[in-house]
Point group: C2
Chain length 179, copies 2
């Protein structure tokens, strides 16, 4: 599918409600569980998504729109949530993520994006030249990636409980997403 901004927006607007429907009120035994070192719990993932709303996506879009390729993006701390979520409930994080996303979608609407603006370029510190369209598409797919990660890490908690059915559950028969 070619990049279409309305299609990107359709994903971005839905993620907060999707996470709330999936996770709000769910026992900690599901939401705080990992699959061992280097894997994240559902709680960790929601904190990571919140941090991205606060520090990554819109600031990078502004750099492309206002400064251009000569100003590489600052790096993104993908594990900042291990400190920043401390003391917060999952409900707090879900609410904060929803509020931050709503504000960011409003900011995005204010950019009045055109095909010309979407083709503007920026410089990623590791990946090199990217377009604004690439950035916004990645924002949406990053959401889907992390919804996938959440269901995977939760599914693995019942690895033994499903008994012989494990064979048929593809989600239990490959490594979990780790980022």
């Amino acid at each position: 599918m070619e990049y279409q901004h309305e299609n990107t927006r359709a994903i971005l607007t839905r993620t907060p409600a999707t996470l709330r429907a999936l996770l709000a009120g769910l026992p900690d035994t599901w939401t705080r569980a990992t699959e061992g070192d280097d894997t994240w719990s559902a709680y960790d993932v929601v904190g990571h998504l919140l941090h991205g709303e606060q520090t990554d996506w819109i600031p990078r879009a502004r750099i492309i729109l206002e400064q251009g390729e000569g100003h590489p993006f600052p790096t993104f701390d993908r594990t900042a949530m291990f400190d920043e979520s401390a003391g917060k409930s999952l409900g707090n994080l879900l609410d904060a993520f929803a509020a931050a996303r709503e504000a960011n979608i409003a900011t995005l609407s204010g950019f009045d994006l055109t095909p010309e603006k979407l083709a503007l370029k920026g410089t990623h510190p590791s990946l090199g030249t990217v377009t604004l369209g690439n950035l916004l598409a990645t924002w949406a797919i990053h959401d889907l990636n992390h919804v996938g990660q959440i269901v995977e890490v939760m599914a693995h908690q019942y690895d033994a409980a499903v008994g012989p059915w494990k064979t048929y559950l593809a989600i239990l028969n490959r490594p979990v997403l780790t980022e």
Copy 2:
């Protein structure tokens, strides 16, 4: 995690709203897209989940509770939705799935499940001996498996649009779930 029926119920009750939040009103370009032969669209997956509610999980639970190991389960047609969803909108399927799931959760409550009942055995046509607890755990993980499948097949539609970021999006760097 050991099987705990309240934990299973916590997943089962959330799936209809999760799917609605993720998919309702989303453009067909996301919901009808597959990743080629033998992969399912989000629309296909919702039809598959509906078919399971109608024909699989509760009937199999009843066989275990009422008939026991001597009566193997009938086989489940995992591609029945290709005929059964014909002519139905995704909105229709989401509504039908939510209604069927709600009725099935009520039926489950009526079974008044105890540890003894959860340990009762049945016979799967291919897998052999399974317990009622295995069946119910599988029902919940089957939901998570298919939510994962939906976000994967949708993510792949923006495989090109994300540009250089593809490297960082693990969901785009492995085959999609096919069942």
